[in-house]
Subunit: 472 residues, 2 copies
């Protein structure tokens, strides 16, 4: 509650709960070390940004024969109506269904300032301090920061190579039910395509299972699934699984959230979501307080990009470019860390998105205050310490031996050089560490079982038919 | 708190407190009555929107020889650094001082999605449910709606032709202090230039007085003044008074909030504020949760507009255009209502902004369910019922005989025709009303004192030297 000091403002409980996002520490490091190669930033690949395309669309919108002043006028709180209609069709198309089949209308679509604003508002309309929010272990750290502000109790669900483990979700909900705490469980947040931070996608067969569990435990009220599909369209091979929303045929449990930031341009900062019937109105009322509508100019740009096929062509091109960057990072990891502590070092092989998740021997601390982090920085490479990606679940202790690597922003040459520098830092640190680590890394202790903490011991075995996303 | 119904979501207390903005009712009326002339919308004048200017700036930004992809990349949470530096200089220039004199730096500037988002976030970091927010009577209704969401207790301060009355503010704070409730008073919100909804500006001589009162009552914590100066640059004659911020020489009590929406283009949705030292960090932390930065593309457009003189030229042109529209509305009011219930009907004569506030005889109900509102709609004209503009102060009853008229959007011909239709509706309703109103409107009851409720009986007399903003 408010302080009592005439020198200070009387900050709200919400402000008091808001901590600095850990990523700001990394951004400071990047600014202070300009020659560093950042494998940390979640920025997109600058050379691929559609400047000529956007310039052409804007010239037509504002200055051409079909020009109009409307993109410069106020829009509506929920977003441009024509855009919302196209987005509904787009989401249906991604799931291979007819818009008429999905029990939704353009009124269930809300356009926001990036998808983050929609994640925030969905949480704001559902979560009071002390309410419980479920998410994966690990999870997207910006959203985890927001949950602190809301005063939510975060409870995490284990993941394996197929994403969140249904049995683990069921066990957690069963336990909360037994404790009489189900009325406090408001939502489950999942980044289910090429997850930030791991790159892991939720397998197709688990999707109906998760939805069924949430439906069965919605005895006190409906528990919402926020399906953060920010990276869905950046799938580089194979056909991505249907959305969780696709299985929610009555449009009751899943808010499907997407964005133009990753597949088009973050500077246009336009996100959107398809919400269960009855939820859009509550979100739009909040948005009326926040800003009564995101930038209309940006909405007109993405609307024009969709109408004229510019968006579809750009996504195609991005897939090609990012696939090559992912391949470069994986090849560099294979080359420079392939023989490092075999059995104790592994990384994911994502089929899309921007991230690879690296797990080192348990004794190798990757944290922001660790010697390894400093050594990497000295070598000229920055990564996201994995500890940032484990939400503050009161029942868990975060692993300290993981990191998120992004191939989004750096060009291929820097990706390769960045991995060279990182591998050197890791080997140096392992050699400088205690004898046991050194021993492990030299292969003399190969039989010592160091648990790979992102894969719980009791996880169900991966389906033999599924794509193995992780190198073991 | 959350409901218990498996068919519903478990909405938060905050969602439960969020009501539909009254303006949405008016927007529905406008949509359902497409031939209506809207004197209600706060939209800006579409023909003045800088389409050619924006197209030129965007072509240079994205496609020209100096082109860059950076406007399409992520920006920072607090906003573009170069833009914030220019904004600090701009604000200093508006107050006729050197940036070095104002005890502030670009770090105290935050760029947001319109100024509304900054109003929201400033309130979010200070106000817990049950805290007290002070504002004028009447006040800006969108912000009043947000205060309901925050669960704030709103207490209002009387206004007269010079804006908020210092003695009334002092009396209210004295009373709250006597009740031991000063620790709950978090902020004072004022729209102090050409106020929305009245068009009244806070006089220069009252500015230091208000600041002094807030400073003296900041005994428990600092009470923040939110100075919403959205219409400041739209001053059509005379030099606007210095900002409240100008008198806060140590940068401790005033958050000066402005926007590019009114003086440039709402579709670019870019607002900003100069905040007291220590407050920007708290707001930026919240913004990290909300959206981690407003649309970078839009920020680059306004940055370029400022750098190349496009903004300054556009504001000059807008002033000329809006002054003519204001004059047209005032002339039409003089012509068509000048002889209506003299002494009981009055309207403001703003020196800027977009709004005129009309006060009718106390018995003429202007509310959304009133016969007058319906008659006006039947005649083809829409206004904002003044009742929407009186916040929900538990100690007050809102007047029912006022309305806000905007000359922002309609062209001059429609402004004139709109006033003809409105005046006809008012005269019809007066004639159809009870004998006493009819009597008053025909002038036979001129001696009956009908209080003009927006001017409190105990208000101090206007300073003889001040500009009389109101026709009496």
């Amino acid at each position: 509650m408010a302080n009592s000091d005439p020198r200070c403002f009387g900050f709200s409980a919400r402000a008091a709960r808001t901590a600095k996002q850990p990523i700001s520490y990394l951004m400071t490091q990047a600014v202070n070390n300009p020659d560093v190669i950042s494998l940390a930033a979640g920025f997109v690949d600058t050379p691929t940004l559609p400047d000529a395309e956007a310039a052409g669309l804007l010239a037509d919108l504002l200055g051409g024969a079909q020009g109009s002043k409307l993109p410069l006028q106020y829009g509506t709180t929920e977003g441009n109506a024509e855009l919302r209609t196209l987005l509904l069709e787009h989401l249906a198309r991604l799931d291979g269904v007819d818009p008429a089949e999905i029990h939704a209308s353009a009124d269930d679509i809300v356009v926001t300032t990036g998808s983050q604003q929609l994640l925030f508002m969905l949480t704001d309309v559902l979560v009071d301090p002390g309410d419980i929010v479920l998410t994966s272990w690990p999870s997207y750290f910006v959203y985890a920061g927001a949950l602190q502000t809301f005063g939510a109790e975060v409870r995490c669900v284990d993941m394996d190579d197929e994403g969140v483990v249904p049995a683990a979700l069921e066990a957690l909900l069963g336990q909360l039910a037994a404790e009489g705490r189900l009325p406090r469980v408001k939502l489950l947040y999942l980044c289910d395509y090429h997850q930030n931070p791991t790159g892991i996608s939720l397998s197709a067969q688990r999707r109906p299972a998760l939805l069924d569990i949430i439906r069965r435990y919605s005895t006190h009220h409906r528990i919402l699934i926020i399906e953060d599909a920010a990276y869905r369209e950046l799938t580089y091979e194979g056909r991505p699984a249907p959305s969780l929303r696709r299985y929610d045929t009555e449009n009751r449990f899943v808010a499907l959230v997407q964005t133009f930031s990753k597949p088009f341009a973050p500077g246009i900062k336009t996100g959107y979501g398809l919400l269960p019937r009855g939820l859009a109105e509550a979100v739009v009322l909040q948005k009326g307080n926040h800003d009564f509508g995101s930038a209309n100019l940006c909405q007109h740009v993405v609307l024009a990009a969709m109408k004229h096929g510019v968006y579809a062509r750009h996504v195609q091109e991005l897939r090609r470019r990012y696939a090559a960057k992912r391949d470069a990072m994986l090849a560099a990891l294979d080359e420079h860390l392939g023989d490092f502590a075999p059995g104790h070092t592994r990384w994911t092989r994502p089929s899309g998105g921007l991230y690879i998740w690296l797990t080192l021997p348990a004794e190798l601390d990757t944290g922001p205050d660790s010697p390894l982090f400093q050594k990497a920085l000295d070598n000229g490479v920055l990564y996201v310490p994995g500890a940032y990606c484990f939400p503050d679940d009161p029942t868990r202790t975060a692993p300290t031996n993981t990191m998120r690597l992004s191939y989004g922003m750096p060009p291929i040459g820097e990706i390769q050089e960045g991995i060279v520098r990182l591998a050197a830092a890791i080997r140096d640190q392992a050699d400088a560490g205690d004898a046991r680590i050194a021993c492990v890394t030299r292969g003399c202790l190969r039989t010592v079982a160091i648990p790979l903490r992102t894969v719980p011991d009791d996880a169900e075995p991966p389906n033999p038919g599924s794509h193995r996303a992780t190198r073991s």
